[in-house]
């Protein structure tokens, strides 16, 4: 049995500047934030990020790690607009490939199944076609003759995911209400790294949830890291919900460079353990 457990530093140390990185979860839900924070601490730059975007995209933008965002939206859900992404867009700091969210899923599906594209109606008539001049349409070879958008495969070098449980081999399990598109990222990427709330024995996985919750097969996974609180401040149900107070602090700090510098100093100047400590302290101060 191969033991694939790694530290977040080892995972991030295996990445290279200029890579295309897919990030699982959705908006401000079950995002691999421990890995995102580790990227922010690293020397990586010029990343292309493929994501149903949320705090992951925002934080990477705030640290200048991203040169290109591929996304249908970037949102914090309970706070509709992600302030750091807004700044990055409004200052021209990032290139943006903007797709409809169904198109985006078809791009993932195509990549996950080694297809060059998949056809869809989504996108037709909208300015998604205008702002992505490389997008092509394809005509059905059958009687209907329909002309549809050919969504190109969203291939990626690496996928980063956070799940509730995993074993040391890389089998990974979600226990919350929604798998999001995490399995498609795992299949679409050349390498996939999974962080989880808790590493358990393989035999322990089905004590945690039903067989349908085994979302990711070890054949898709290169490395696993246990990072309790690794999705914080996004949701990781049922282990924890979104830390709304912290998210408000994160979003509020974006409005002012001095406030953001103070936020960085307080929470993001150390490693993941220091971050989790700072979060605990903040919670104790204002319950």
């Amino acid at each position: 049995m191969r033991d694939k457990t790694m530290s977040v530093e080892e995972i991030v140390g295996s990445l290279e500047s200029g890579m295309t990185i897919g990030i699982g979860g959705w908006g401000s839900r079950r995002k691999p934030m421990a890995l995102v924070r580790a990227i922010c601490r690293s020397a990586l730059e010029d990343l292309t990020v493929v994501s149903y975007g949320g705090a992951d995209v925002g934080l990477l933008c705030a640290y200048g790690k991203v040169s290109h965002v591929v996304a249908p939206f970037v949102t914090l859900d309970s706070i509709p607009l992600e302030p750091h992404f807004r700044i990055a867009r409004q200052t021209g700091a990032v290139r943006f490939t903007e797709y409809d969210e169904g198109m985006f899923m078809f791009g993932l599906l195509a990549a996950a199944h080694r297809l060059p594209f998949l056809p869809t109606r989504a996108g037709l008539g909208s300015d998604v076609m205008r702002v992505n001049p490389g997008l092509r349409t394809v005509r059905s070879p059958y009687e209907d003759g329909e002309e549809l958008v050919a969504v190109p495969a969203l291939t990626m070098d690496v996928a980063l995911l956070h799940l509730n449980r995993a074993d040391r081999r890389g089998n990974a399990q979600y226990l919350g209400p929604d798998p999001y598109l995490d399995d498609l990222y795992a299949k679409a990427a050349g390498r996939c790294y999974v962080t989880c709330e808790r590493v358990v024995d393989t035999a322990g996985l089905l004590k945690e949830g039903p067989v349908q919750s085994l979302l990711i097969s070890r054949s898709m996974v290169t490395g696993v890291a246990e990072t309790p609180g690794g999705a914080h401040f996004t949701t990781c149900e049922p282990d924890y919900g979104r830390d709304e107070a912290f998210q408000r602090m994160y979003a509020g700090a974006a409005a002012d460079p001095a406030a953001w510098a103070a936020f960085q100093e307080r929470f993001l100047s150390g490693d993941e353990a220091a971050y989790q400590d700072a979060v605990r302290h903040a919670r104790e101060e204002s319950p």
């Binding site: 959705w26 149903y52 409809d100 989504a122 037709l124 300015d127 998604v128 702002v131 329909e146 209400p177």
Partner: protein, 276 residues
Amino acid sequence: MTSETTGSAIGAGGPGPGGVDDGGPATRAEVCVVACAEAFRGDGEILAAGIGGAITVLAARLARLTFEPDLITHDGVCLLTGDVPALGEDPEVIEGWLPFRDHLWLVLQGRRHVMLGASQIDKHGNTNISCIGDWARPKSQLLGVRGAPGNTVCDPTSYWIPRHSPRVFVPRVDMVSGVGYDRAAEAGASATRFHDLRRVVTNLAVLDFGAPGGAMRLVSVHPGVTVRDVVASTGFDLALPGGGTVPETRSPTTEELRLLRETLDPASLRTREVPG
């Protein structure tokens, strides 16, 4: 219920203390909920998807509890509710599971009527939720197009716009996220095949796209609103209904008011979205 729920009503009277329906006239928010609920009339056994907030969610639930009992409604996350809970409450009965992937597939399948929002909307129903200004470097980055392109060419789509103003009702939207009638026609048969913009409900009026060429038309004005108010709040030429008279949006029935005030929204979250 708390005394905070006594919203100011249009005209004399209003909800009694504690927000209990005492036969007082409907508030503007309540008129809006019912006007949005009417968008789902006749839809049958399909998903009524509200974009969130109070009014559209209440509209779907109210329609289901009254004239559209087979409608499918969800909890705002990924559960299809077997019962019809109050706003912000969890369902006691769950009848289905709709994680994001299945919701995206359902958009393509089409058994769904969505009520979207819009930061900008034009005469032919093109809408923008992506950004304000030049897309290449926007003055204000908003959400991104989200699902608006696919929703509008795949599913019956209505809009809820809580603040009817010339800033929202514009001659030309900055980034076409939701597809309007003119753009669908330009894009061809695949775009028009299932394209079906039903109605636009605002805090002032109900509109549709019944004017020639799929242009926006005033259908009714809410009680207390004049046609002139609506025209002045719209940044393009608005077609008026034939015959010269504009009807008034129907008022909620006593039963609808009771359901809204006592069952679905006792905390009166609706008046936060539409004051007055």
